[in-house]
Symmetry: C2
Subunit: 289 residues, 2 copies
Amino acid sequence: MKIGIIGLGLIGGSFALAAKKHALDVDLYGEDKNEEHLNTALELGIVQHTLAPKMYAQMDVILLGIPVDAASACVIELLDAMNDNALLFDVGSTKASICEKVALHPKRNQFLATHPIAGTEFSGPSAAFAELFVNQTQILCETHKTRPDLLEWAMQFFRSLQMQIEEMDPHAHDQHIAYVSHLSHISSFMLGKTVMEKEEDERAIFGMAGSGFASTVRLAKSSPEMWAPIFRQNKKNILDVLQEYISNLEQFKILLENGDWEQMRLQMKKINAIQIILEGIPERNNNKN
Amino acid sequence: MKIGIIGLGLIGGSFALAAKKHALDVDLYGEDKNEEHLNTALELGIVQHTLAPKMYAQMDVILLGIPVDAASACVIELLDAMNDNALLFDVGSTKASICEKVALHPKRNQFLATHPIAGTEFSGPSAAFAELFVNQTQILCETHKTRPDLLEWAMQFFRSLQMQIEEMDPHAHDQHIAYVSHLSHISSFMLGKTVMEKEEDERAIFGMAGSGFASTVRLAKSSPEMWAPIFRQNKKNILDVLQEYISNLEQFKILLENGDWEQMRLQMKKINAIQIILEGIPERNNNKN
């Protein structure tokens, strides 16, 4: 079977490696607008062949693993070009926009919207590894709109990678993911910014940084080319969540200003319950890092 | 030599275990106002004997490893009680308050203010382990005020634990640590709060959380009993830093509202340089977790 990977980044590259590992008979074709990434992916054996638009019709499956704005922009053309038995799935961090885009396409039932909750703060094909998805959640949206045989193949494929499949409405997805992923990225970027602005005067400051700081700022290494489009596509939800976060910080600041230590302590005690929630989050797979 | 550990938490307990491992002839005495912690520390062999106030005069070294408000409250009494050749050092995350407190004490030169940049989000004696401090920074304040022989012993001891020693003014310490530690904790607690408030309506939300979320919220598991007093003692610095952080979040929100994607992308690109800074932070020692 011929699988085309459009976008040979961390996610696309890792799906290619996982497909090679878990599926018996796959021939992997890849394309990336960054020529260096394409060459690296070929050199590392992530894909075996270069994919070109004129070959789209020969693919059995196409994975769309590019930034969400670019994915929304090309999904119609891709569906147009594919043969009538092929499956197209995307892996973007927003789902409402792309689902809306394909809604009226005659080949809508050959499309599946997915969001693998997996990743590291690294990007590009050299960050990819086959085990990235083990025990991680794969969210599928609007599965009833995908042709049963193609959906079945996709679910078997994700299960063979040991992913946990969850189904979700695309709008609910975008709202919830703003809380548990998009906000964390903004918080991390702005934490990095705040400290780096200070560091312009005080170069000694980072000698004092420990693992706690590293943990909260890790996501500030993420790719702006990937994240700016996500923030754009999920603007409304993110604005709401960001305002709630800022309000909570403002309220904490008032507790601090007023010296309301008992209230502060009680609030933190309540938040400690996050520990139980965090225990339910699968360990990060980071063989590569 | 007799070492007394007041406060058998993660830091006090780990120093006790490290002392036993690296010093040939130590007899470890411990006390904790939490009786359960004391019993656990005795059972785990973290200390061999129970320490009581009437025995303070027999100690050669006393480590003060309790929340910073309690440490400031008892440091005078402790110095009063110690013999004339003993060393007292604290390990709190704020330094100006305790240095001010002891400034005029006749035994000021038997005190050393330290801040080991080491820790996990776990607390209590069962979280302690001997290797916590390996390759981590130990900040010393006002070393010129400590008697040279006692300072020399302390520095040898910290070096034997493979710590990197840095000297710093206590006020500079408190200002800088607000950026690279205290703010990270507040950011993490408020992130946890924001998401947990949402989760009251939407229990499904945490199935979507991945390692990025876990990383940014990890510190929200920290002990309120330890952290509320730190925020209290470093109130002024933290208010400044927190305001800078909120302003950066507000500015990011404006970029989002205005759809200024190119400015947003450029800003994130600049913040990506945090990667170089993070490479300089020693790996977390977390044998225990």
